[in-house]
Amino acid sequence: MASDEHAPAPPAAHGDQPPPEHALEAPGEEHKVAGSPHAQAANAAVLALTRAARSFTLYDPSNKVVRTLIGEYRDRFRRALDGHGPLVLDVHPFELLLGPEVVYIEKDRERSLAFRLFRDGVRRIAFDAGTSWEELLRLLEILSIRYTGVRQQEDDLVTLLRKAGFDHVHVAAIEGFVPEEEDAEPPLDVDLMRATGERYDPAPQWDLPLPPFPEAAPLSYRPVAPELLERLRGEEAPEVLPSEAVRSVLELLQAPARPDLGAVLGFALEVREFLLLEGKADLVGELASAVRAALAATPEAISPFLASYLDARALRVLIQALPPAAEELPTALAELLDAAPGDTLGRLVDLLTEEGDGPRAPLLRRLVARGCRHAPETLAARLRSAKGEVAVVLLRLLGEVDPAAALHAAGEASTAGEAPLQLEALKRLEAAAFSPEVGRALRHLVESPFEEVRVAALPVMAVRGGPRVFPALLAHVEKHAAHLSPAEATAAGRALVRSSARSALDAFQVWLHPKGGGLLGRLVKLHAPLPLQRVTLAGVVAVLGEEAEEMLAFLGEKGDAEVAGAATAALAARRRAGGGRG
């Protein structure tokens, strides 16, 4: 956005923070003037107008600052008109005058309202006391456009002001105005300015001959019915512009001597901008489909066109127009997405990321899954850089469309830095056939920095790996024995037993009854640290048989208080159940 070199740097375009005080004031020469009360009120009103109009070069229209400035404009103009009656401003090159008094001055041509009015030929602008808010808004709209407009090919202030059809704002403009020159020279032969240096005239018989007109009908005055006039006017009503815009593209594509295709497709993209602005999602889709059909004879042009056409903004508009609960895509949209290149899938993933848990998340997941049919590698590639819940969703989606790729991705995710993704990866691995790759991945998860992942991974590794993973499990437990939480110790104990009950019991025996120690060793409590006692307890509780009961009894007698109590209770429960010996 345009910024003035003398003005402070504007705040972020989408921020709603109140701007610094000086950003709202007019820097440079656009300042308050002294004078009669009417002049001061006029000055305040005009300054409010210029600030509001220029605010659109600095801020997004929805910004709170803009709202404040619009409100000030309304209030100050109302104050001037209600308090002092009609406001008649004479336009000079850099000043606006109320009678003899200067009520606005700004010599910077880029900033100056007076200069823009004067240069375009406006010499007076007069506001009746009854100027409505709607008219003031229309004026603000016109000036805002002129402050932001750069190409200046279509309209200037006079044409915009005339177009507005004001009832209470009167504009006096001069036409055929010749700017005064410092040192005027006589007009030059205009042919000197032409690129070719020559005039060109069409052949004298252009548009001729006309078709034959063999008969005449009598002329008479016949009024045309008002309803018919209204119907005709309706053909150019604002609401039909979007469909007319689509039609114009199609007419160009179907013209017998078709204009340059590149230029037509460029125009189609311009029309798309218009349709997006108007929120015409249906026509956005319709235009793309129609262009695609029209390009059937030049298929190489379709893909680049759709790549430009179906950008993130267009996709967002198309998606937002769908009901969130939509199960099926409209046929036109489905065909369009199927024909769109791979970037479209990436954009859909972006939209899914933005949506988070929003109402359209299920729809977007369906669309991504659908898109993956054409470009599954896109999903896997995006997964590598995804984070948080999105990564989880993508892995899940990948599992739906390409289980093999999802398994590989799960393996990669086992060393990823986020717990939710590791847990999702664990689900994938749990469902897969055991293989060295799966085993490696599970081992990584058992070693995860996140306890919840480790606790969840231990039983899975035990169940899927069986006895072959027992040594690894045991090594893991003994390595981390000092730091196992109660939950993890419990999970570890159960995992060891599930992996191999015999091996687990042997290991428990070693922990409970280390070799050596003698009489003293028999007299003191267990050397096994509390975490290992917990591991043993959890494992033994899951095993039936005399050996297990003996260990329970031992723990009940020799273990730390917490473990002893639990072991005793478990033993008692077992005996009560009558399943103590098996």
Binding site: Q152, E181, T196, A216
Partner: protein
């Protein structure tokens, strides 16, 4: 699929914000938000390169190898600016330089900016408009001419001639316009030509620009249409035939007048009327594709509609006016009952165009007969209602119709009939007295209501 859901109800200021946002969005599409910054950056580069090249001419001849790289850079910059803007207007005033109204920041190169202004001012030039991106040789010729000593008399014109002789084309030198402060007071100078002459000249200029390969610039034509709409469309002076008017341009202007008569009668709002007038002034622009810039091959009737649309597409950015005139160019020869029914503008222009061609260009039919012949095709070639509106607007004896009065005088209808009461009694001026001698020019208008029976004469 339907439309994007609208925001919920807002207070007045909220509605104002939303409405302004949409209006600005419409104005900006095709501009895009970054355009002004892009223009500023490229404009800065243009100004500094030009200034630097001019400084180098004090040491070296422009054909020196030292100029190779900066000349290439300047060409690239002009191409980029042309792609964004079409015509590039570089204006130097006091110590500032503006490119398409964007002020160029001087930064630490303030002296370079001032020097550029000074170099231009030596030749009494206030700026340069680049209608086309100059190629390397043209750039060297430009800086060579700018770097040379100014002529003692009419330095700007002399510079223009030197540029033309040096093969530089597609640029315009601007005067050093002076805007006075309030109180300095001096009468403003108006173009001395009458409105119709100005309008025809501007229409011709627009056509010549298209033939020369330039981007369409509808603003001057829109200003004309705006001025026309402020006038009385039935005013006599608007229907006069300016001497030596280029036939094509006069035809475009007449079609615009006729179209606006119909549009006014239809009750179209001001914005749509403006668009209609501009579309009419461009409707046959497809023939400009026969100019040298497009290869010099004359465009046939069958191709001119699509050619016109293509030329109009050169203008960047979406604007509903551009869309309307492009459709109008494509459709203006289509029958009203065609399977591909033309839009409103196309149907209006068909009526206006055929009437002007039959009545004025053919030279064989009176305007009255032209209308009567067309009326037989109402509902097929021509939209019935629109043709009737034209008949109502022009009257039984449209401007240019020669009539013989009962007393032998020959009069010419000089303006459309206003209203049903004047349908058969338009304003008329005597061209021949009863004795057959030419009538004096200062005779008052003839009141045809009391003139008795009238006989329509064929054009002589």
């Amino acid at each position: 699929m339907g439309e994007t859901p609208r925001t919920p109800s807002l207070d007045d200021l909220g509605h104002a914000q939303e409405a302004l946002g949409r209006a600005l969005g419409r104005a900006r599409i095709g501009e895009d938000r970054a355009l002004a910054n892009q223009v500023r950056e490229l404009g800065e580069r243009l100004a500094h390169l030009l200034s630097g090249l001019l400084r180098m001419t004090r040491l070296h001849s422009p054909d020196n190898r030292a100029f190779d790289h900066p000349v290439e850079e300047l060409h690239t910059t002009l191409v980029q600016l042309h792609d964004l803007l079409g015509s590039v207007h570089l204006v130097a005033v006091e110590d500032q330089v503006y490119v398409n109204d964007i002020r160029i920041r001087a930064g630490d190169k303030a002296s370079s900016i001032r020097e550029l202004g000074a170099e231009l001012h030596r030749h009494n030039a206030g700026g340069i408009t680049f209608h086309l991106p100059l190629e390397g040789p043209a750039i060297r010729a430009l800086i060579g001419c700018l770097g040379a000593a100014p002529a003692a008399s009419e330095p700007r014109n002399a510079l223009a001639r030197a540029l033309h002789a040096g093969g530089v084309a597609g640029i315009e030198l601007l005067g050093r316009f002076r805007f006075r402060m309030a109180g300095e007071g001096a009468p403003e100078i108006s173009d001395p030509r009458d409105f119709v002459s100005r309008a025809v000249a501007a229409t011709d200029e627009a056509f010549q620009n298209l033939a020369a390969g330039r981007v369409p610039n509808p603003l001057p034509l829109r200003r004309l249409v705006t001025e026309l709409l402020e006038r009385d469309l039935a005013a006599e002076e608007l229907w006069a035939e300016p001497p030596e008017a280029p036939p094509y341009a006069l035809h475009q202007f007449r079609v615009a007048q006729l179209a606006l008569l119909v549009g006014f009668a239809l009750g179209l709002p001001p914005g749509v009327l403006q668009d209609l007038g501009v579309a009419a002034l461009y409707h046959d622009c497809g023939y400009a594709a026969g100019g040298a810039a497009s290869g010099g091959v004359a465009v046939s009737f069958e191709r001119h509609a699509a050619s016109g649309a293509r030329l109009l597409l050169r203008q960047r950015g979406f604007h509903e006016a551009k869309m309307r005139r492009m459709l109008a160019a494509l459709q203006h020869h289509r029958d009203a009952n065609d399977r591909l029914r033309p839009g409103l503008f196309g149907r209006i222009l068909r009526v206006a165009e055929d009437y002007d061609t039959l009545s004025r260009r053919s030279g064989k039919l009176s305007p009255t007969l032209a209308l009567a012949l067309m009326l037989k095709w109402a509902g097929t070639r021509y939209d019935l209602a629109l043709l009737q509106l034209l008949v109502n607007g022009l009257g039984a004896y449209p401007p240019g119709t020669l009539l013989q009065l009962e007393d032998g005088r020959v009069v010419r209808s000089v303006a459309p009939a206003v209203g049903p009461e004047a349908f058969a009694a338009p304003p008329a001026r005597c061209v021949r007295l009863a004795d057959g001698s030419p009538a004096p020019e200062d005779l008052p208008l003839v009141d045809l209501r009391t003139a008795g029976p009238l006989r329509v004469l064929r054009p002589s």
